[in-house]
């Protein structure tokens, strides 16, 4: 298959949002690292669930409830397989990746970390992988270390032995949502484990874009969100090694996570339900199952190949057309990055830039991308960010490149 070109036109036709103009313009959607668009198959899976199988799960002896439970658990197996987990009880559904990281901090962290213990993050983490640790630090007095970032927007992995020395947990993004930089996971995992630290990965930008195999990566925790990988809002995933999950206390309490409740106390039920208090996002989990099917049918190796090619085209074209007027943060080498580009254009403020681009239907995000410490380090308040996915092609990049000239016109001073 790898000799045929990736068929973007076919992919686009699977996504209803591209059928009609948006705001009277062709939608040039370049914010997939914010959230992805959804293929018809995912929407259909959820609608079909509601129309023919809707009931609460794990709770009734009747046909419909059993059907709903099996569809939901079937989706869990699919997700486990998609990320290379052999034990689907290691896949815990949360509401988003943010809850997944809060769960690590609030459950594992609260019982395992004490004053003087250390968690290692990096300067380019998303707030989802910073604030939960600040909250824990306020509560338990732990130390947080921030790995520096190199000039080309990668986590600086020199001197890891010193950074990891005495650390209990290393929690890093596997791919930056600001610079697109891929983290060398093998090096991180090896060094962290050598130092006796566990490894958590913020895989929000990894799982949607690259083939992912938790067994091969060897990390201990991994978090990601459905909505960035063709799935619906309202569901995220925490994957963690069984032994860890088994030893951890619950994060929230309620129905579905108990073995018994009395007026005196409670005992928890087995994995993964122990961490899924209350009615789960049933339809959303089923939607995520369909998203995983969709991406698997495309083949994640092909997805990655397409994105590397389009990344190369992006970097080449923007340089050719705008030369030094554009500064793109992040690695220059497409194989070391995903298709996420934070960039500056002349001295036009990112917010104004995205406003001008939007006038042509070119949808890029402007802001701090939930990475304020990194913005502070870059010395900017915000960047503009374009990000690519399976439905983008060269014409989208061309449209962005053309639209930049409009900004030059308007803010030419």
């Amino acid at each position: 298959m790898s000799s045929e070109p990736f068929d973007v036109a076919a992919v686009r036709s699977d996504f209803p949002i591209f059928d009609e103009p948006i705001n009277d313009r062709r939608l040039v959607y370049l914010d997939s690292s914010g959230t992805s668009q959804k293929p018809r198959a995912v929407l259909d899976a959820m609608t079909d669930f509601y129309e023919s199988a809707n009931a609460n799960v794990h709770r009734g002896a009747y046909f419909l409830s059993d059907l709903a439970s099996r569809r939901m658990e079937g989706a869990r197996s699919k997700v486990a397989k998609f990320i290379g987990a052999t034990d689907s009880a290691e896949v815990v559904f949360t509401k988003n990746a943010t809850e997944a990281i809060n769960l690590i901090a609030g459950s594992w962290g609260r019982v395992n970390l004490n004053k003087g213990d250390a968690v290692v993050l990096s300067m380019l983490e998303h707030h989802a992988n910073i604030v939960p640790w600040h909250m824990l630090a306020q509560e338990r007095g732990i130390e947080i270390r921030f790995l520096p970032v190199t000039g080309d927007g990668q986590i600086d992995l020199t001197d890891l032995d010193r950074w990891f020395d005495g650390a209990n947990l290393v929690s890093l993004s596997a791919m930056s949502n600001v610079t697109g930089a891929l983290t060398d996971l093998e090096r991180v995992v090896t060094a962290a484990h050598a130092a006796g630290a566990l490894v958590a990965l913020d895989a929000c930008q990894l799982v949607p874009h690259l083939p992912t195999d938790v067994a091969a990566i060897g990390a201990d925790f991994m978090a990601f969100s459905a909505h960035k990988m063709c799935g619906p809002t309202g569901v995220g995933v925490l994957w963690a090694r069984r032994e860890l999950l088994e030893a951890m206390p619950p994060f929230m309490g309620g129905g579905g996570m108990i073995a018994n409740v009395t007026t005196e106390g409670f005992t928890t039920t087995e994995l993964p339900h122990k961490f899924e208090a209350g009615t789960p996002p049933i339809a959303e989990i089923i939607g995520l199952g369909a998203a995983v099917d969709y991406l698997s049918a495309l083949d994640m190796h092909e997805v990655r190949r397409h994105e590397v090619e389009l990344t190369a085209y992006f970097l080449r074209t923007i340089k050719e057309r705008h030369g030094d007027d554009v500064v793109v943060h992040g690695p220059a080498e497409p194989s070391q990055r995903g298709g996420v580009f934070s960039f500056a254009y002349k001295d036009v403020h990112p917010h104004d830039l995205s406003q001008v681009l939007d006038q042509r239907g070119v949808s890029v995000r402007a802001g701090h991308h939930c990475a304020k410490p990194f913005m502070t380090q870059l010395g900017v308040g915000a960047t503009a960010r374009a990000s690519l996915y399976i439905y983008n092609d060269e014409s989208d990049v061309d449209e962005l490149v053309d639209a930049l000239s409009d900004a030059s016109e308007l803010f030419s001073f």
Binding site: A61, S65, S69, R70, E73, S77, K78, A259, N260, T269
Partner: protein, 153 residues
């Protein structure tokens, strides 16, 4: 009732109506465990007297649906006088009678079903119909899980 014959076999109903080995044993020395099915409230208690490796006495307590209680009763009859090794085999056999299907229903398309151990199941065979009613599998396996726990205590 049409469609339910496979579930409610006469012998199952008989064990439900007249449970065998109902009671309690003094613990210690008896090994004891309590199992819950948190989803539907079934509860099974198992007491076991061991002499060396052999189960000399069993008692069953708890409450729950016909399947959970009949299964516990059948189990109690099947394990009395058996050795721990024999019971290990029996447990695997009973559970594979159920769980093979449990997996198939969870969309596991691995297709490779492990060969169940070649053990005489006797009355227990009547529970095979449960696999057509996947929600009831947990009712049927509860007593066996509780037994394993009791043996480990």
């Amino acid at each position: 009732m049409a469609g339910l014959e496979d579930l409610y076999k006469e012998i199952v109903i008989d064990h439900y109506r007249s449970p065998r080995n109902r009671g309690e044993l003094v613990s210690p020395p008896a090994k004891h465990a309590e199992g819950f099915n948190p989803l539907c409230g079934d509860e099974v208690q198992v007491w076991i007297d061991l002499e060396g490796d052999t189960i000399t006495n069993v008692a069953i307590g708890g409450q729950g649906c016909s399947i959970s209680q009949a299964s516990a009763s059948m189990m109690s009859a099947a394990i009395k006088g058996k050795t721990i090794a024999e019971i290990g085999e029996l447990t695997v056999a009973v559970k594979s009678m159920m769980s093979v299907h449990e997996h198939a229903l969870e969309d596991d398309d691995s297709g490779v079903l492990p060969e169940p151990p070649d053990v005489e199941l006797g009355d227990l065979e009547a529970l095979k119909g449960v696999v057509k009613f996947p929600v009831r599998i947990k009712c049927a396996t509860l007593s066996w899980n509780t037994l394993v726990e009791a043996l480990n205590n």
